[in-house]
């Protein structure tokens, strides 16, 4: 693995000089940069070479799986299909970020198509960080597609972050929940310059007492443009909540278009949305604590995206 890949891995995942602790598969410029299975987590290549299957044994507890992808040059169009099979009653953390470093004039693209099949009573924390960097004029594009299927009592916590440098991104997440399954998503986005990002959530709560909570926090700076779409469908007795908050800076623009569908009398669905600039009173308060205007603005945005 080259130094660029190593630096990207550090930025998007928990990579250290000593490597990863746990199962991992590193995807580097559309090829395999390293793979390791553990006793409870098996990672195998698909027969057609299109991606990998991550198979987590039932009852696996407190283990990490790292599935990062890196592109470090232009003229790479990476498309990969990764399927995660989470055994019943397991409790694991999956880290699957993507970093692109492009110093070239040709575009660099990564499309990760991830499907998650969570067995009954399983619990997964899924973390996904996206980052773009490099001095080339070639576009850096990341278009993740995530499909989630949660069996009874399964819980998925998805933390997805894109904090700059990605020129274009279309982020699609779909999900189907069975009885008492819970899907909790926290998205943090920051765009600048001419960047564009589109987020699209589409979740079906088919199961009784299933629950979805989607929180999206974003900051649009420069001349960037963001689109937020979410569709939560309550097809049974269930609770759904989505919250889309955006801060505008300079000439940033945001279009938020949430949608709720209640197909059952006992579906309780709520959407909240707020778009606006950083409140002047917030800046003033932090300045009375001794922060400069720039420090105050940074603290407000960092907190906003983290929260």
């Amino acid at each position: 693995m080259d130094k660029l890949t190593e630096n990207l891995l550090k930025a998007i995942s928990d990579y250290t000089e000593g490597g990863y602790t746990g199962a991992y598969n590193i995807r580097e410029n559309a090829g395999c940069g390293g793979r390791q299975s553990t006793e409870n987590i098996e990672i195998v290549g698909k027969e057609d070479g299109s991606g990998i299957d991550i198979i987590i044994k039932p009852g696996t507890k407190d283990e990490n799986v790292f599935i990062p992808a890196c592109v470090t040059k232009g003229n790479v169009h990476d498309l990969v299909y990764n399927d995660f099979h989470i055994g019943e009653g397991s409790d694991v953390r999956i880290i699957a970020g993507c970093g692109i470093h492009n110093d070239d004039e040709e575009e660099a693209v990564h499309n990760g198509i991830h499907r998650f099949f969570l067995g009954k009573g399983s619990h997964v924390v899924y973390e996904e960080k996206h980052l773009g960097e490099g001095t080339g004029s070639g576009e850096k594009r990341i278009d993740p597609v995530t499909h989630l299927e949660l069996e009874e009592d399964a819980v998925l916590e998805m933390i997805t972050i894109q904090l700059g440098g990605v020129d274009k991104s279309t982020r699609t997440t779909t999900g189907v929940l069975k009885d008492r399954a819970k899907l909790l998503i926290h998205e943090s986005l920051m765009t600048a310059g001419e960047e564009y990002v589109m987020t699209d959530f589409d979740v079906d709560m088919d199961g009784e007492d299933s629950k979805v909570d989607i929180v999206s926090r974003s900051v649009a700076r420069g001349n960037s443009y963001q689109e937020y779409h979410s569709k939560i469908k309550g097809n049974n007795r269930c609770t759904g909540h989505s919250e889309c908050d955006a801060i505008l800076m300079e000439k940033g623009r945001v279009n938020a278009a949430p949608e709720l569908y209640a197909g059952h009398l006992d579906a309780e669905l709520i959407h909240e949305a707020a778009i606006g600039k950083v409140a002047g009173e917030q800046i003033l308060k932090l300045r009375t604590l001794g922060l400069t205007e720039e420090e105050a603005e940074k603290a407000i945005i960092d907190g906003f995206l983290k929260g």
Partner: protein, 244 residues
């Protein structure tokens, strides 16, 4: 400690809110500024903290003229201000706020101490976001805590600290102010109508229509205020009109 000389402030031409305030706020004392609504009390607090720039006069801290200093510079020089209406922040936790107030990460025991002073249980609040999920009283107490956490404060301004705070927590707050008074290098300025705060004031200034109607030792001013109450008249109406 804090000296106000002929402080005037006009938010717009032809509309003067502060009409020449002269006031001395000594260190080691609690000064309560009181008076009718709309009289200029909060405006006075804001010009001291630098949120509004005065149009005439001067403001001095320890003899140093801070009139031209901006909000950040005044804060670094030791001017702290607890807002009358605290600001909410999505994503910023109570711990984040206290760390920023202290200028760095503060130890857990200190967090507990300051939170206890404002009547909040640390473990219940430390990771809470300062957002709409907090009640008015909770956020007010966190606002006060942020000022109590400041390092090197010389002038501490509390704008209606009693607002929204329950009786039990308010008793704790009174004790916190009593403790602050013992720190001889700090001047405490509280804007309030609350009788219990007026009772512990070393000095009281009554501001009416942008002017100091009367100011003096709390023991002298308080009976006059109470007399007004007793006779069912506006407490300040009968006071020191000759000073206008």
């Amino acid at each position: 400690m804090l000296t106000l000389k002929n402080v005037r402030w006009s938010p717009e031409a032809g509309h003067e809110v502060l009409k020449g305030i002269d006031l001395e706020i000594p260190a080691g004392q609690l000064t309560v500024v009181t008076g009718p609504n709309g009289g200029g009390k909060t405006s006075l607090a804001k010009v001291i903290a630098g949120l509004n720039q005065i149009t005439e006069g001067s403001i001095l801290v320890d003899g140093e003229d801070i009139t031209e200093k901006d909000i950040t510079e005044r804060a670094k020089m030791g001017v702290s201000y607890a807002f009358q209406q605290p600001v909410r922040f999505k994503g910023v936790t109570v711990k984040d706020m206290l760390d920023m107030a202290a200028g760095g990460e503060i130890p857990d025991d200190e967090v507990c101490t300051v939170m206890a002073k404002v009547g909040l249980c640390t473990k219940d609040y430390i990771d809470r976001e300062i957002d709409a999920s907090l009640s008015g009283g909770e956020i007010k107490r966190i606002e006060i805590a942020s000022v109590l956490t400041r390092r090197g404060s010389k002038v501490l301004i509390f704008d209606e600290p009693e607002a929204g705070i329950d009786l039990w927590s308010f008793t704790g707050l009174i004790e916190a102010f009593e403790e602050l008074k013992k720190e001889k290098d700090k001047a405490i300025l509280v804007i309030s109508h609350q009788e219990r705060l007026l009772e512990i004031a070393d000095q009281i200034a009554v501001i009416v229509e942008g002017r100091v109607r009367i100011a003096g030792p709390g023991k002298e001013i308080m009976p006059q205020l109470m007399a007004g109450e007793k006779y069912g008249t506006c407490p300040v109406e009968a006071m020191g009109k000759e000073m206008l």
